[in-house]
């Protein structure tokens, strides 16, 4: 048991931070729902960071560390599916960004407008499709991810992936790591706001009503992070379902509180909070939501049969 980064992980994250310092675009200056960091996406693709789980001596935990760190950015860039899901499924590197959806392949999917690949959880199996940009319609949404949906699909042209349990396991890990990073930045943003915004003669953050709920948000953020990292390390079904389910269950209260403490400013697009909270709200419903994960965790821990 060791919660500190090892030398390789320290080097990895130091290198990523240096890359982000040089290549991450400044926070959006225009009020937008979301901004995809195309330039950073290209640099990340070339850098090898997103393929770390494929390297000898590294694995999904190292990928999760990277995903959590990238999710803290105000802009979004597809990393979780490329770094965690694709290597675990044994998919060839390079075909990215990767979009995910469940059920009908025509459902709206995160990152589909720029995706090269779409993975569809069809219940009994998964379908892996190459994405033709000409057949993608962007979807307008409050969620802070670029969404799109296929205008038509030829399921026969896709590749069937039989181990849907593996897909769900690593999807849960990817979701948990991404959500943990979003939570970290959301809390930091609101802590800064309530530390400087004055009301009734003192900073908002001096009021205990706000302090206590922000403290709870901090506990949520820390729990989400360590559960995600443990799941990435162990690769166990129960750990993955617990990590994703925990964060999905906490997101509603977490996002409510953080917007509440930001007042009307938190409802504007010029205030950056929505970059993280509206990614979190998008993640709430994936894979059956917290109920789906809670049941999956229960079955993984105790079995389904009487």
């Amino acid at each position: 048991m060791n919660f500190s980064l090892n030398e390789d992980q320290t080097s990895l994250l130091t290198g990523l931070d240096q890359l982000l310092a040089a290549e991450a675009p400044p926070a959006p200056t225009e009020p937008v729902f979301t901004e995809y960091a195309h330039g950073l996406d290209a640099v990340l693709s070339e850098s090898g960071f997103l393929d770390i789980a494929r390297e000898d001596g590294f694995g999904l935990l190292d990928a999760a560390l990277i995903v959590e760190r990238l999710a803290r950015l105000p802009q979004t860039v597809e990393a979780a599916s490329t770094a965690i899901i694709a290597p675990a499924l044994g998919l060839e590197p390079g075909l990215r960004p990767v979009a995910l959806t469940s059920g009908n392949p025509l459902r709206a999917a995160r990152y589909l407008p720029m995706a090269k690949m779409l993975i569809v959880d069809r219940g009994d199996d998964a379908l892996i499709l190459s994405v033709d940009p000409a057949r993608v319609a962007p979807v307008e949404t409050l969620f802070a991810y670029p969404y799109g949906r296929l205008t038509e699909v030829d399921e026969g042209a896709g590749t069937v992936f039989a181990d849907v349990a593996l897909l769900r396991r690593v999807w849960r890990i990817a979701l948990a790591a991404e959500a943990a990073g979003c939570m970290a930045s959301a809390v930091a943003t609101v802590v800064e706001h309530v530390s400087t915004r004055q009301a009734f003669g003192r900073p908002l953050g001096a009021f205990q009503a706000i302090q206590h709920r922000l403290a709870m948000a901090a506990e949520t953020t820390e729990s989400a992070k360590w559960l995600a990292f443990r799941a990435a390390w162990s690769g166990r079904d129960d750990d993955a379902a617990i990590a994703a389910g925990f964060v999905q269950a906490r997101i509603p209260q977490f996002t409510f509180d953080l917007h509440q403490f930001s007042g009307a400013m938190g409802l504007t697009l010029e205030y950056p909070l929505h970059y993280w909270t509206y990614r979190l709200r998008a993640l709430v419903g994936e894979l059956g939501g917290s109920t789906g994960q809670a049941r999956a965790a229960a079955v993984a821990a105790w079995g389904d049969a009487a």
């Binding site: 302090q211 922000l214 559960l227 443990r230 049941r295 079955v299």
Partner: protein, 388 residues
């Protein structure tokens, strides 16, 4: 970063389980029902802790200079997980091992160590902590019990309340305030710690009937009780430093989530036996309780890891304690809704868990104090006056 156990740690856990299986009697669940402060569990703790000492498992975490085995922090914590999940058969004596002994080793005089440590390491000492008062609970610094200096020691007057184990304790780890005189220290620096013999003249103990088990909480009245100066722990003015050290050990020394996880496993077994496990609502709720247990586990492990690596203590203990309170109560809520018969005489272990869970956010100071600490020391939010 990795989250597994070494082969040595796995073997250590297996050995402890084996010892517990061998040492716990068939009627242990009935004994545990009455709570760690009960006469039944206190009596049992003498035999159990003595036998545990013979196995070298009572104080292995203590330094060898004090009779321990210099065991690492993680091995100590594995022990704590296993005994807590078994219902804490060490009874009131867990406290001696977790923090009374370590505090005495760090701050006690040689005479105090010679007097108090042997009974602890032999499993025959019961202590109580005289902290809370009718007007000073979580706000410990406002305590009013007085320790008036007299020739050769102090005269103590006042009252303590919620005092666990006081009815059977040999010694009280007592906090009292030296009355202010002109030019003397006030506030926290006026507090002294007196290792007080509970058989001293002037001490009266009154048990308070409660929801959390027999013998767990008491009122203790001190009427002009003489305590020799040799029984003062640390120098005058040093008490707050000692208390802070003690609470750091106390608050994270109990892996409550492990008992909650065990009771959850047990509950699922009962639901399966009753044919109720296939209900998706039951599975959903059980899964949510499980998530809370595992979140608490990870945050507590993060503290233990920091201690194992000798990192300075930070506010993470408060973060973890809040998670532990949520886990205890989340499991308790699940049990109460889906297995209410456990509180109707059918499951003494569930009742014991319930009694611990309802106290989880109150014992060792209100959990809201932990939220204050997270806000101020972890998030660095401004204080009530507006300053960071």
């Amino acid at each position: 970063m990795e989250f597994g156990w070494s082969a040595d740690e796995v073997a250590h856990r297996e050995r402890i389980r084996s010892v517990l299986n061998r040492m716990l009697p068939d009627d242990w669940e009935e004994i545990a029902l009455h709570g760690p402060g009960s006469d039944a569990q206190t009596d049992f703790s003498y035999d159990f802790c003595s036998a545990l000492a013979d196995e070298g498992l009572l104080i292995p975490n203590w330094p060898s200079a004090f009779g321990g085995s210099d065991e690492g922090v993680w091995r100590q914590f594995i022990m704590a997980e296993e005994v807590w999940s078994a219902g804490e058969p060490r009874g009131p004596q867990y406290m001696n091992i977790n923090w009374i002994g370590p505090v005495l080793m760090r701050f006690g005089t040689a005479d105090q160590q010679d007097r108090y440590l042997p009974p602890i390491r032999e499993g025959r000492a019961i202590w109580c902590q005289g902290f809370s008062e009718p007007s000073a609970g979580s706000d410990l610094a406002s305590l009013r019990t007085t320790a008036t200096p007299v020739e050769g020691g102090y005269r103590v007057s006042g009252a303590k309340v919620w005092t666990s184990y006081a009815g059977r304790a040999d010694t009280c780890f007592l906090l009292a305030r030296v009355p202010a005189v002109e030019g003397a220290a006030t506030g926290k620096t006026a507090i002294v710690i007196l290792l007080t013999d509970m058989k001293s003249a002037g001490i009266q103990v009154k048990s308070i009937p409660s929801l959390i088990g027999d013998g767990d909480i008491h009122e203790v009245f001190f009427d002009d009780v003489f305590v020799p100066e040799a029984n003062r722990l640390g120098a005058e003015g040093q008490a707050w430093e000692i208390i802070t050290f003690a609470l750091q050990n106390e608050r994270v020394g109990i892996p409550r989530y492990e008992f909650s996880r065990r009771i959850l496993d047990r509950a699922v077994g009962r639901l399966k036996a009753d044919g109720r496990w296939a209900d998706p609502v039951v599975q959903d709720r059980a899964g949510r309780a499980l998530m809370l247990c595992e979140a608490a586990r990870m945050l507590v492990y993060r503290i233990v890891d920091a201690r194992a690596r000798d990192l300075p203590p930070d506010a993470y203990g408060a973060v973890a304690r809040w998670a532990v309170v949520l886990a205890d109560n989340g499991v308790n809520d699940f049990l109460t809704e889906f297995l209410p018969e456990g509180l109707l005489g059918e499951d003494p272990v569930q009742q014991a868990h319930h009694q611990r869970a309802i106290a989880a956010g109150v014992a060792s100071g209100a959990a809201e104090i932990q939220l204050n600490l997270i806000a101020r020391r972890w998030l660095e939010l401004p204080g009530e006056g507006g300053r960071r």
